[in-house]
């Protein structure tokens, strides 16, 4: 009874012009054309989108959660990357 597996796709939707495509979920489809159509039906039934991207899930390389500290902690100590780190006298006005 078991059927051959249908490929998995990740769906990205642009909700309005000017905004970036955002990951909304995934779906199964035999090919890219069907994946776009299914994404339309599944994720934009209430005008949620103006553009759809589908990407084969197998094409995504993700960072390993075990490396989370090594990957992302270094940014925590670099306060000088933020504007609030720098002192500008009030007299200078908004900068």
């Amino acid at each position: 009874m078991s059927t051959p597996t249908t490929p998995l796709w990740e769906v990205f939707i642009r909700s309005r012009t000017g905004l970036a495509h955002k990951h909304v979920g995934s779906l199964h489809a035999a090919d890219a054309t069907l994946a776009v159509q299914a994404a339309r039906d599944l994720y934009t039934r209430r005008g949620e989108g103006t553009s759809v991207w589908v990407v084969p899930s197998s094409a995504i390389t993700a960072s390993d959660p075990a490396d989370k500290g090594m990957m992302f902690d270094p940014a925590d100590s670099k306060v000088y990357r933020h504007p609030t780190f720098y002192e500008v006298p009030d007299d200078v006005g908004h900068m």
Binding site: M1, T6, L8, G25, S26, D31, R45, R46, S57, A62
Partner: protein
Amino acid sequence: MYAQSLNQQVEGTTGPEDAEAAARFQARIDAEERIEPNDWMPAAYRRTLVRQISQHAHSEIVGMLPEGNWITRAPSLRRKAALIAKVQDECGHGMYLYAAAETLGVTREQLVDELLAGKAKYSSIFNYPTLTWADIGAIGWLVDGAAIMNQIPLCRCSYGPYSRAMIRVCKEESFHQRQGYEIMLTLARGTAAQKAMAQDALNRWWWPCLMMFGPPDAQSQHSDTSTRWKIKRFSNDALRQKFVDATVPQAHFLGLTLPDPALRFNEATSHWEFGEIDWSEFKQVLAGNGPCNRDRMAARRAAHANGEWVRDAALAYAAKERARAAAAAGAA
């Protein structure tokens, strides 16, 4: 979802449960962090979620059947359009939920096969028949109303993909309940026969809806660990009471009577107290002996079997196109 290869790896290396990892996991849950697909998780947490999310997905899919039964007989175009949209939403809910379950390392095909083989459960409520148009009103108002009570706390479930799916589902559910209540209101304000039809639907759906929240807390098997893992935020009885308190005044507004002579408002607690639920009926329906269990499974199996050539054709066409593209690239 993405990076399922990683996911499998995690499962493979888990072996006997690592106490330290388990403690770290519980600490993350206690800190209200979300657990994501590739994070370490206890095997039992994974199993519990696969069971719960896939049952939930199956329920959405089987739930299309009782309502789909009335699409061709909806009394107006407005009602028909709304009902089609609702049934379509329920299909979408099933899809979001299957996708969430798949992030835990099971395939869609496995889950569907389990349902069709009769090995997986779905909500008992969908084994009741929709005999009249008023049943469509009662389902939207009561069944979706009860589902919303269950689903809102799941938006804060500790498992990220499940909670995100539930947020989307809950956004779509509110129209379901409102369209159902509108149907009931129209019937209740209609002719005597229409009002009687609404009352009859309420009589038949009320008790099965109270059963939707599951067995009483004292008998519930899965509650303790699910609560500790923040999969479940409120007990079955607490959610059931919340539903009764919200729904009784809505029934009174309709001018309908709830089929429970023991129902009374307790001034001291501000809760509606209700009569004994017939749990033997619930057990019978779960065991496969409800009025429509066989029909529902037969309909799902037929839909799956009749769609097989479509799935096969789509996959064959995709393979052919891939081969053509490869040949063209080779020739160039």
